[in-house]
Symmetry: C2
Subunit: 371 residues, 2 copies
């Protein structure tokens, strides 16, 4: 065998993996397109028409790199949030920012606390930087804040990841519960509070921003309520010094110019956002009604998706999921024990819901027949 | 002082920096826009109208994440290049891919060889992962291939960065010289061959692709000749196992959907590419003629920019640069000794060249007056 450049021991130990298989890969395997794309927590109600128009208008300008300081977007976000621009960092989606956070705070072997069944991409980054993932099971389909705090203390963990509202279950904690977690957290532990679904949650679930705390990073995105997943634009809000640390490692010219333009326009279109939030809530109810019509329960959700209990074990839910995919409906499901009894259905326009309503009983029947 | 989460020792040691100050930051400081943006090696001739139209048509679809496998674009690139899709990885510009490469191959303290005055963003990534940068001075405004090879051998360096054509000087080596470097390189050293400017170079400067070699990664981009800098789409071509390693650490959902669409359309518009390459060559000649008209020499260039010798030392060139910026012409300059006698002027449409022609003598006169 020829000699070759050696990967670092850490890199060599990592699998070449994809945290989520994309619907396009499934479509290629199936040889045909999905008719309803309601599996990736995307927002089928789409972005603001103003964001679309802004991207179209700016398409000829993309020979220019974007402003590496993301100045205008940070200013607009700061104004919107009532913080200073120095309290905001913009990046390529929350995913990209999560990678930077793990890189900034975790050395190889250090513990990182998250929930068992929590966000796989965060876990991917923890593994990617050699962190040791410590997980705490969900409790009644919610992240177990007390259990997470206990794990942080036991492990003296530098990093804790909590999503509120949660993915993949859609559940949430009220702001006062999150505030208590923050109060009780060791000052030396950074809480990564993923609020990707914050806009679709009850206002009572989102604690006020407090950028005086050096150990909380609030993660937000234009991918969900704003319908700009494909543009990759997320941001973190936090204490100025914690935010400045991103400048040590981020890819300054990594943002797309059109992502800037789209995010600015989306931020300015409150009317569209309010309409989408209402549409999302209506679609969540519709999913719950469809489930109920099939004798199934759903988990209350503050997000743009609903976890539906298929009424059996993990393999049974996997079989239902497979039946839906075979029937041109793209959905996903949680993988961790207990949660895995569910499939996860993203909201979508009426046509998506109608197809789901048509196909769910067939998928259930097929799963029951083969059980 | 309140306790706070600790950055890793490496992260704590890094400065919060921007490898390049963007023209937008200068505009904010100046309080007015530049009239000619010819400093960032962007391509003012712009992207293919087909790429613009494709982005405009797809703008409403950006609620969907992009395919995390980048399947269609990798296939198209593979076909174009005569390799397999498994020999191609797509990422957020060459910058993003360079970061992944350093992460994959360099542990803290390991040596990385590059040229003194070479690409600052590569150096930023080396520092960011704790690598030890070993630099070799340019020789006659070209990267010193023999010197780089000697440094690799002396240091037993796992990584070597070479840009061909070069940035910031625009010079190039013929393919046979690069091929000889590859032949002589230790098999355990990965050569990162940055060919961002490959399309504007003489065909004789680009060695044929050989994806059987595990120790060469050829870096390409849609930012330069294709005029899509603001979309962030670059790729690496190499041996399949070396390419697969990116899947261990890349941000799978990090690509913009519109970047895919634009890159695919750009790739299909050979006519536009040929026209831009001709425009770039013409503009390089124009820059050289403007320099000559002011009694200045330029460095022969295979890129979309020209290094112009201001005829003095580094501070004098900096003064000329400052005079141009004050006169609404955005240019940049190399920072390393000897190279720093030059300013670096990117190509651009006639209006940019006319303004540059008008302002250069004034900036030179002002610099001479204050020298």
């Amino acid at each position: 065998m020829t000699a070759r450049p050696a990967l670092t021991p850490l890199a060599a130990s990592l699998p070449a993996t994809v945290p989520f298989v994309g619907p396009e890969a499934l479509e290629r395997t199936r040889g045909k397109a999905f008719r309803a794309r309601i599996g990736a927590n995307e927002n089928g109600f789409g972005p603001s028409p103003k964001a679309i128009a802004a991207m179209q208008a700016a398409a000829g300008e993309v020979w220019k790199y974007a402003d590496p300081e993301n100045h205008d977007l940070k200013q607009a976000l700061a104004t919107e949030l009532g913080v200073a621009a120095g309290n905001v960092v913009v990046g390529g989606g929350i995913d990209g920012l999560l990678g930077l956070i793990v890189r900034l705070y975790i050395e190889q072997g250090q513990p990182v606390v998250s929930s068992l069944g929590g966000y796989p991409t965060f876990n991917y980054h923890v593994a990617g930087f050699g962190g040791r993932l410590v997980t705490v099971p969900y409790s009644n389909d919610r992240e177990d804040l007390g259990g997470l705090l206990a794990a942080v203390r036991r492990e003296n963990a530098p990093l804790l990841y909590v999503a509120n509202p949660d993915n993949p279950m859609g559940t949430w904690w009220e702001a006062n519960e999150i505030a208590r977690l923050i109060e009780e957290l060791p000052e030396t532990t950074m809480l990564v509070l993923d609020e990707a679904y914050g806009e679709t949650a009850p206002a009572s679930a989102i604690p006020p921003l407090d950028v005086s705390r050096p150990n909380v990073l609030r993660m937000r995105t234009f991918s969900k309520a704003h319908g700009l997943a494909g543009m990759r634009c997320g941001y973190a809000v936090g204490e100025a010094e914690a935010i400045r640390a991103f400048d040590k490692v981020r890819n300054h010219f990594g943002m797309s110019r059109l992502a800037h333009v789209a995010a600015l326009a989306a931020l300015g279109d409150r009317q569209h956002l309010a309409r989408v939030v209402a549409d999302v809530a209506e679609s969540r109810d519709r999913i719950a009604a469809i489930a109920a019509g099939n004798g199934l329960a759903t988990v209350p959700s503050a997000t743009n998706f609903v976890a539906m209990d298929c009424g059996g074990d993990g393999p049974f839910a996997a079989s239902v999921l497979q039946g839906l995919i075979e029937r041109d409906v793209f959905v996903r499901k949680p993988a961790a024990p207990v949660l895995d009894r569910c499939i996860r259905v993203s909201v979508g326009p009426s046509a998506d819901m109608e197809l789901f309503e048509e196909m769910l009983p067939k998928a259930l029947a097929a799963a029951r027949a083969s059980a």
